[in-house]
């Protein structure tokens, strides 16, 4: 590296230049003149480049390195290191990224952690206050888009429909927008609240439950989810989490929530249970049968088809105790449905010959 020669700065430093036009390696010398970098080429020609047009990159076995953002491929390596005067005139190379370099790694990490924690907090709590703000018609439309009206799998008989309507009316809050109830021909023991003030009972439920009071308890529980706007909350939570978690895995979860598989929080389940006990009491229906239903479920946990319904619910034994304890011995209860009505409701899906069973997934 015999660069130096005449015509340059007083302390010329040897360097290697690739100009980004060809792969040729140029052995040159550099110096500084005020706001310019001076390059003494092999031919002796001198080139001036404004320091502002240069960017310093990380050092390594090649020494120090300068590049020109406006000229990709242009690269200047200074094996002996940048002269201190030049190094002082150029901004330090990027390391972690612009923001983090400016703040320092430690402070940036703390700041990001705080922002992230706040964000996760908002996403986790937002559904609770955002859910009730979503207008019901919007929620109804989301429900329509996700599951449709399920008409072909809904069982109908005049007497069964009347019994279902009576059951709903007796445990629902008075004077509210109506909740639509459907009995679906599905062999599972399950019930669910759907977006848009809808409650569905699966016909398998009637094979297992022999008491209209227990069905009233289950209906009241799902009504609680609808009336307390838990469905929208669960939808929002599912959506919010998938968006936040998209950053960590790279792949966005392919499956949006399966609507009947929506998970409510334990608090929401407790709220729906309390709602159910309240409404049963207002309708003078005994909570004993519902309690017995949960007691039976508790025995069969964790195996059995109960899990479908009970997975995210409070432990069945606790619920059995809560419903059993709500029985007021001094009170006179009336049956939720007359034997004829119960017969009509529980056999509705067997009697309706037109209904098609819903596909099991």
């Amino acid at each position: 590296m015999s660069a130096g020669g005449d015509g340059g700065d007083e302390q010329a430093v040897p360097a290697i230049l690739f100009d980004g036009r060809s792969a040729r390696r140029h052995e040159i010398a550099i110096g500084r003149d005020a706001g310019d970098l001076l390059i003494v080429h092999e031919t002796g020609a001198i080139e001036r480049i404004a320091l502002a047009a240069l960017e310093r990159q990380g050092s390594g076995p090649w020494g120090d390195r300068l590049v020109r953002p406006d000229q990709p491929g242009w690269r200047l390596d200074i094996p002996g290191g940048l002269p201190t005067a030049l190094a002082a005139a150029l901004p330090a190379p990027h390391r972690y990224g612009r923001w983090i370099d400016r703040m320092g790694l430690g402070r940036a990490a703390v700041a990001f952690a705080a922002i992230s924690a706040a964000l996760v907090g908002v996403v986790l709590t937002a559904p609770q206050w955002l859910g009730p703000l979503v207008p019901l018609p919007v929620e109804r439309r989301i429900g329509e888009a996700l599951v449709g009206d399920l008409a072909s799998a809904t069982c109908h008989t005049p007497a069964g429909d009347a019994a279902l309507a009576k059951l709903m009316a007796s445990v629902d809050l008075p004077g509210q927008a109506p909740v639509r109830a459907q009995v679906l021909k599905v062999g599972m023991i399950n019930a669910a609240a759907l977006p848009g003030n809808r409650v569905v009972l699966f016909s398998g439920l009637f094979d297992e439950m022999k008491d209209p009071d227990a069905v009233a308890g289950v209906v009241a529980h799902e009504l609680g989810h609808a009336r307390k706007r838990h469905v929208m909350q669960a939808l929002l939570r599912e959506l919010g989490l998938s968006v936040v978690l998209a950053g960590t895995s790279g792949a966005v979860p392919v499956q949006l929530a399966k609507v009947t598989g929506l998970r409510y929080s334990r608090e929401a389940e407790g709220e729906a249970d309390a709602f159910a006990r309240d409404r049963l009491s207002a309708a003078a229906i005994s909570p004993a049968a519902t309690g017995a239903f949960f007691a039976k479920a508790a025995k069969e946990e964790p195996a059995g088809p109960w899990m479908v319904m009970l997975a995210s619910h409070p432990a069945s034994a606790d619920r059995a105790k809560a419903f059993g304890g709500a029985v007021d011995r001094s009170r006179r209860y009336r049956p939720a449905l007359s034997p004829a009505e119960w017969q009509a409701l529980s056999r509705m899906c067997d009697e309706d010959k037109r209904v098609r069973p819903l596909l099991d997934f």
Partner: protein, 361 residues
Amino acid sequence: MAEDDGYTAFEFEGRWQDYAPIAFTNLLLTIVTLGIYRFWGKARTRRYLWSRTRFIDDRLEWMGSGLELFKGAIMALLLVVLPLLLLNTLAQSLILRQQFLLGGLVAFIQITVVLLLVGVAMFRSLRYRLSRTYWRGIRGGSDDPGLRYGWSYLWKNTVGYLALGLLLPWAMVSLWNERWNGMSFGQYRFSAGGQVDGLMKRYLLCYLAPFIGFVGIFIAIAVMAATQAMSGNGNPASPGAAGIFVGFVGILSFYLIFGLVVMAYYAKFFRQMVDAMDLGPLSFQFDASTKDWLKLLLGDVGLVLVTLGIGLIFLDYRHWKFLIDHLEAFGEIDMDAISQSTTAEVRQGEGLLDAFDMGAL
């Protein structure tokens, strides 16, 4: 370029001790930013790995930025993943409404689009990586946006599978060639002329392994049953336990053997493809045997297990080192005659590939 005395055209000069600070700070920042930093982390990792990779007499340079990768990921999310998610929801809701034909059609369209886009993503990510890789100030790239490759990917894979999977090696070879023939570095175009000849024997081994495995398991069960019958009425519990044990060992060894056979095929495939590649006056060679790949994989697994998962952050390093250690190039090259690539500069990263959660190689 490669002469006898241990000289190699490609050499990796990195040390994991030097890479560790990068890996750990990347991990920290990725966690506190809920994953968003991983784009910048990836750029830092590549900057290190490339800068410690010597080809002939100069180190590679990674000029891509985290911001580019981030933008690419956002674009892929908005333009590809979101529409696909909506399509998926549409298909599901149609099937729930018993519209099987329409739902099936939407699902079919969705699968077609995904396959097409995976192909496009593979092509574009290779194009992006070449266009951001500099050597002696010269970069690579492609002027092909990759849509044609996407179609090829779709139909060649479909044909490969439809022919009972027997044409998959042909699909892999022909897609490799098509992908690399679309790429260039400097003014030189890559030429890839890989052949299927010589791959079929190993592929048939993979192909037959499941059948052989099933026959083996069947024989094992038969032998078990026979010995049990002969030993008469022994303890009824112990034969069951022994059966489970044999089944477990059988399944485990089947997976091990199957994995080994697939690896043997892939090792040969990779060697054969790289060996058939040229770039102007240069030709390439890859010499990793099945044993080398096995050692890499076992090393990965061991590292991750021993470090309780932390070792994951060193896998990129290990894979790059493996690639460079086994890569070789031959030929005389006139540096002055290599001129800058005229291909379009790609400014958005490999977000599409990222969105499908696929690896680099």
